[in-house]
Amino acid sequence: MLNIKKTCLNVAVALILPVAAMAQQADQAPVAKPSPHMESHIGNLTGHSGAGAALYYRYCWGCHGARGNGDGENAPYLNILPRNFVAATFKCRSTPTGTLPLDSDLYNTIGRGFNFTNMPSWAALTAQNRADLVAFIKTFSARWVTEKPGDPIQIPAEPKLTVESIKHGGELFQKLECWKCHGQEGRGDGPSASTLTDSNDQPIRPYNFTSDNRSKCGRTNADLYRIFMTGLDGTPMPSFADVVKPEDAWDLVHYLRTLQVNNKSPELTLWESTPEGKAIVAAKRVRNTNTGSGITP
């Protein structure tokens, strides 16, 4: 009797399980896989992932890892972790937040490097080498198969620089609460600074405008404008595309340039030509190197 029950149970399980499994498969969409063969297109250049692989495993994998997930042998020693290409989340884009970057964005990043990280400039490689690397980077994530890069944001012509635009930018700096992270003097020491983490749950420091004239994604005013509008994906720096009008964004750019008190820029020169600006800049300025030598009390 017991054996008959057991046999019936086994038959039932044998019939039900495949049906359940089929139902489950029908519910799930097929999982996309990364493509092992990718191309990149930057201007007249066409990059090929096959050629990029050899370069990647010579120059890049020590930090970014053999599988591109940012776990190379050097990664434990870096306090801003190498980019995880499997996640395909990129900081420097000309496309809206949450979208894939253009090939040219990745190409420019490789050539420029990231200031204040351990990612150097690879300008010593040829243009074709960099295009090939971009193609290979795209083989790590299925996002490059299932999604297309976003439409690049439009950057309107820069309006004329005026004292009023600098002052208005300063007001926006307060209103948008940029100071909470970047600090009132732009030194990256705002009240929230110590609490920030990136997408790897690693502590991340807001940009210190006084340290250099290079931001993460380039050194021109247009580069700064682009960062507002696209945000830096994977970091706490959001996109302001929905809350800042283009002319306001340019005013903010003009104001931020005045925070770079050791970088001679048209904005700083104009700002210092006013009594108000001159006093503010003089109070902020700390001369010479970041090791402290040559500081005049």
């Binding site: 200031n115 150097p120 490689l125």
Partner: protein
């Protein structure tokens, strides 16, 4: 040779340009130091070694072959940045018997006035050789240095040119200016050097030499970056010493108990005069063809007649400063062809061929091919792992040099070969 990225990193003062790679930004416990040594088995063979025999002490030649387990010298490398644009390098180095010297010691200012065209280095350093002898891939006694970087011809059969020592491959003491374009495609340098072949303590004279180098990288289609360049060393060396110093020391006692003294006369260091010129020129190409990289160099060299014939241009031994009969300036040409085939970053095959051909002998009566040399080298390196914090390679290499008229007794041709297997590691 360095990769384009490595060359740019070096030229930028060992900085990546993003302000986070310097030791001053690392953990306080971090000290950038590594040591390198290579346990080896090697076999050395010389076709005509000078030995005692039927012709008396040192009067015979024989083929001599030795072999066994051994050690290379030991290098301690430490270098990095002291602050932005201030870098240093210190390399205490020992022979296999742990006798140390400073192979390299320098400090450097980079990007002076904010331009990559002004970088200043002071100390003892490797000349701006695009084919570096300090990063050479071959390790045997024959091929551990480049023949053309050190070649000095025989003055006459059985008499080496010995009035001075200089090698482009030797680290030199001096001051160097180097400049490069932002992408490092164009590089130029000029160095003012003491004529001491890198020996500290001002041992020879008060003369100076100059080393000049320039190169340009360019793209060839899908082959990528290639580089061509040239270099010149124009220097001088003394032919005799202005002053000597005789010192007397007690070496024992005679049978009566009286002290026995010995007098030794030595040149007074640093007072060498009668300087005569030496020149070294070269044209270089570094070619990348897929997994092959090939270096080609053409050399032309010239030594003043006084130097090439070991003749003092004055002083006690030759007050008139006259040259011996038939003496003339030595000149010679050389070529180097070195190729590396990289299956992948872990396996490298090495081949090198060097030749030296005399175009003018120090004495007109010398055989025209005296000192001519050919060096052939094959090797392979396999790195079982790749790490930025430690290195290990299985190394195998065979090298042989043939030189005309170089045997010490009969002045016949000589062949010297070296076979080596080793574990080359650093940490």
């Amino acid at each position: 040779m360095l990769s384009p990225f490595g060359q740019r990193f070096k030229d930028n003062g060992y900085q990546m340009g993003n302000d986070r790679d310097a030791p001053i930004f690392q953990q306080a416990a971090y000290w950038p130091v590594t040591f390198r040594i290579t346990p080896i088995w090697h076999r050395e063979s010389t076709s005509n070694a000078q030995v005692d025999g039927s012709n008396g002490p040192g009067g015979n030649e024989a083929k001599v072959t030795t072999q066994g387990f051994d050690l290379s010298g030991l290098d301690f490398h430490t270098g990095g940045t002291l602050a932005n644009n201030f870098s240093f390098y210190v390399l205490p180095s020992s022979d296999p018997f742990a006798s140390f010297h400073f192979e390299s010691v320098w400090a450097r200012m980079d990007n002076v006035f904010g331009t990559p065209w002004i970088n200043i280095k002071l100390g003892k350093f490797e000349l701006d050789n695009l084919l570096s002898e300090k990063r050479i891939l071959t390790l045997t006694n024959v091929a551990g240095t480049y023949e053309n970087y050190h070649f000095q011809p025989f003055s006459s059969p059985g008499v080496p040119e010995s009035s001075y020592h200089f090698g482009i491959g030797d680290n030199q003491l001096g001051l160097e200016w180097m400049g490069h374009s932002a992408d490092d495609r164009t590089r130029v340098s000029a160095a003012l050097l003491s004529d001491s072949d890198g020996q500290p303590g001002l041992p020879t004279n008060r003369g100076y030499g100059g080393f000049f180098a320039a190169s340009r990288a360019f793209e060839i289609g899908s082959l990528g970056l290639q580089r061509v360049g040239g270099f010149a060393y124009i220097g001088e060396a003394p032919t005799y010493y202005q002053y000597n110093l005789t010192t007397t020391s007690t070496v024992g006692t005679d049978i009566n108990g009286n002290p026995v003294t010995s007098a030794t006369t030595t040149p007074y260091a640093g007072t060498g005069i009668g300087n005569k010129g030496i020149q070294r020129y070269g044209l270089l190409g570094i070619w990348y063809i897929k997994n092959f990289d090939i270096t080609t160099i053409y050399f032309h060299s010239h030594d003043n007649a006084y130097l090439s014939t070991n003749t003092a241009a004055g002083g006690v031994s030759n007050p008139s400063g006259a040259l011996p009969t038939g003496a003339q300036a030595a000149s010679w040409n050389g070529a180097l062809f070195e190729s590396h085939y990289m299956f992948n970053p872990q396996i490298i095959l090495i081949n090198r061929y060097e030749l030296v051909r005399m175009s003018q002998q120090p004495f007109a009566s010398n055989p025209s091919n005296l000192s001519n040399a050919d060096v052939l080298t094959f090797g392979a390196r396999y790195y079982p792992f790749i790490s930025s914090r430690a290195g290990f390679a299985y190394h195998a290499e065979y090298s042989i040099i043939w030189q005309k008229g170089a045997s010490p007794v009969t002045f016949s041709n000589i062949a010297t070969s070296s076979l080596l297997f080793g574990f080359d590691f650093d940490f």
